[in-house]
């Protein structure tokens, strides 16, 4: 492989423009200069787009906690910062949504079930999201605190959900339907990707990401769902069907990549969400602090990072200990 340290002049120039554009420090003259540079050579536009992409990628890696992995990043403790970082930096972090691959997928605790035969139970403990490949080429991703039992039989593939939330990416096999049982609901699939949420009260939600799924609630006609459809089957009350946007479907599946979208939640709600994934609790004693709103997509494995971002956004104080992160007013 080539030495990454040997960098072409074009790549370097593109990186320079990308960093300047990203920092919003371009003067009108520089902006004109950038436009002229892009127009000067057909390769420049692509090199610039690539440099902007790489810059966003590294911002995201940082937001997902890459610093924890670097030995001497600790040599620069936050206390060394003379002025507080500008508010813009914070909002930029918050605005970085979605994932660059599953960077936070270190949470995965997949177990080799490839040679799976007969029936067995899979579960994801607190703080883990677990993706498991099944013998037929399908894959099951379990959110924290989820338990399913899997039975691969010659004529059908059957999953029983005992609790929690799971995503199914189903390998196409019309001869062997893929059946998921969640509470009183039975979902029959041919080849697709869908999410099932089963609450402690027995409410079931099914969201189809790709393909088609047939959902049958006890005592009701089977309903055929297509990509983007959501059906809610409450333990009591009537069934509700709705069409979701692609963005909403993506957002609902974020936990699979070790992320969650906390936009619109209060700090207290966000702290409760983190309790699902981490033993390091976010503690908020002041109810007024707990009512503050948060926005953005965050790594489920980094409650401290989230608390820092929230503190910067709202001017709060963060006190950390081994098992807790306390947010309070300054």
């Amino acid at each position: 492989m080539s030495d990454p340290r040997s960098v072409s002049a074009l790549d370097e120039r593109a990186a320079q423009w990308a960093l300047r554009a990203d920092a919003d420090t371009l003067s009108p003259e520089e902006e004109a200069e950038l436009d002229a540079w892009i127009a000067a050579d057909p390769r420049h536009a692509g090199a610039f787009a690539r440099a902007m992409a790489a810059n966003a990628y590294f911002d995201r890696a940082v937001a997902l906690g890459v610093a924890r992995e670097i030995p001497d990043a600790q040599d620069f403790p936050a206390t060394q910062i003379v002025e507080a970082p500008s508010r813009r930096t914070v909002s930029r972090r918050l605005w970085l949504g979605g994932a660059a691959g599953a960077l936070a997928a270190s949470l995965l605790a997949a177990v080799g079930l490839n040679r799976l035969t007969g029936s067995m139970t899979l579960s994801a403990d607190k703080g883990t999201v677990r993706r498991t490949a099944l013998q037929d080429g399908s894959a099951v991703t379990l959110n924290a605190g989820t338990e399913v039992s899997v039975a691969m039989q010659p004529l059908e593939r059957r999953i029983s959900m005992l609790a929690g939330e799971a995503n199914f990416d189903v390998a196409r096999d019309p001869a062997r339907p893929f059946i998921v049982e969640a509470g009183a609901v039975r979902i029959r699939v041919v080849g697709t990707s869908f999410l099932v949420h089963l609450s402690n009260l027995g409410d079931v939600a099914v969201i189809v990401r790709e393909g088609r799924v047939e959902v049958q609630a006890q005592g009701a006609e089977p309903a055929l769902l297509a990509a983007g459809d959501r059906i809610d089957v409450p333990a009591r009350g009537s069934i509700v069907r709705e069409q979701l946007s692609t963005g909403e479907v993506d957002r609902l599946g974020l936990w699979q990549r070790g992320e969650m979208d906390l936009t619109g939640l209060t700090l207290a709600d966000a702290a409760r969400q983190y309790a699902r994934y981490s033993d390091r609790r976010i503690v908020i004693d002041d109810p007024q602090v707990g009512d503050l709103k948060v926005a953005g997509v965050f790594s489920t494995s980094d409650p401290a990072g989230f608390a820092q971002a929230a503190a910067l956004a709202h001017g709060l104080k963060v006190t950390t200990s081994d098992d807790a992160v306390v947010l309070s007013r300054k």
Partner: protein
């Protein structure tokens, strides 16, 4: 700026992570068509940056490969370098499936440590500047003050750092060799979970 911040984020999230795979896929094919891989990759980015919408793209990796493929095919048609018919070439250009194989899952898990290894392998001054600027979130001026160097020097190191990191991840440069961290030698066992100590480290 010629395209939106949102698009840059979309590219960073969905396209850049697959650039090394695209280059690998292209290396045999583009060369046989007399094309430079760099040129095809840049053209692919230029197209992805300029298309009006991306929200309809479900699988960005496949889409990126499709765009690169059309770039290759178009230059073949334009240049008429070869006598073989384009259809035959199109088959050589079959796009690999992106099934979530176990290897792929492992690859995702390694991504973060690959990035941190690349950062750790930066020349010292570049790494310092990158850490202060990107990880600590200091402005260029604050970095200059805290290291006692000129702002232009900060920019120079930062540009160098970004270009090297972009190469390391985008071209699949051999970051592992450049890093001496023993953690990289560890095989990522499927059942191994992140220990709480590492979490806080």
């Amino acid at each position: 700026m010629s395209f939106s911040r949102e698009r840059a984020v979309w590219l960073g999230r969905n396209v850049f992570p697959h650039e090394a795979a695209l280059r690998q896929w292209l290396s045999a094919r583009a060369a046989s068509a007399g094309l430079e891989v760099d040129d095809v990759v840049q053209e692919t980015y230029a197209i992805l940056a300029s298309i009006e919408r991306v929200d309809h793209i479900r699988n960005a990796r496949t889409y990126m490969f499709e765009v690169a493929k059309s770039v290759v095919l178009q230059s073949l048609r334009r240049a008429r370098i070869v006598t073989i018919d384009v259809q035959a070439n199109a088959q050589v250009l079959d796009i690999p499936e992106d099934a979530p194989t176990p290897e792929r899952v492992v690859a995702d898990r390694q991504e973060l440590s690959q990035v941190s290894a690349a950062i750790a392998a930066l020349p010292e001054r570049c790494r310092e500047v990158f850490t202060l600027r990107k990880i600590q979130g200091l402005s260029q001026r604050q970095v200059a003050q805290s290291l006692g160097i000129a702002e232009s020097t900060v920019e120079k190191h930062m540009v160098k750092a970004m270009a090297i990191l972009t190469n390391a991840i985008g071209r699949g440069g051999n970051v592992r060799d450049a890093s001496s961290s023993p953690r990289d030698q560890q095989t990522d066992n499927d059942t191994r979970e992140r220990s709480p100590q590492r979490e806080r480290a």
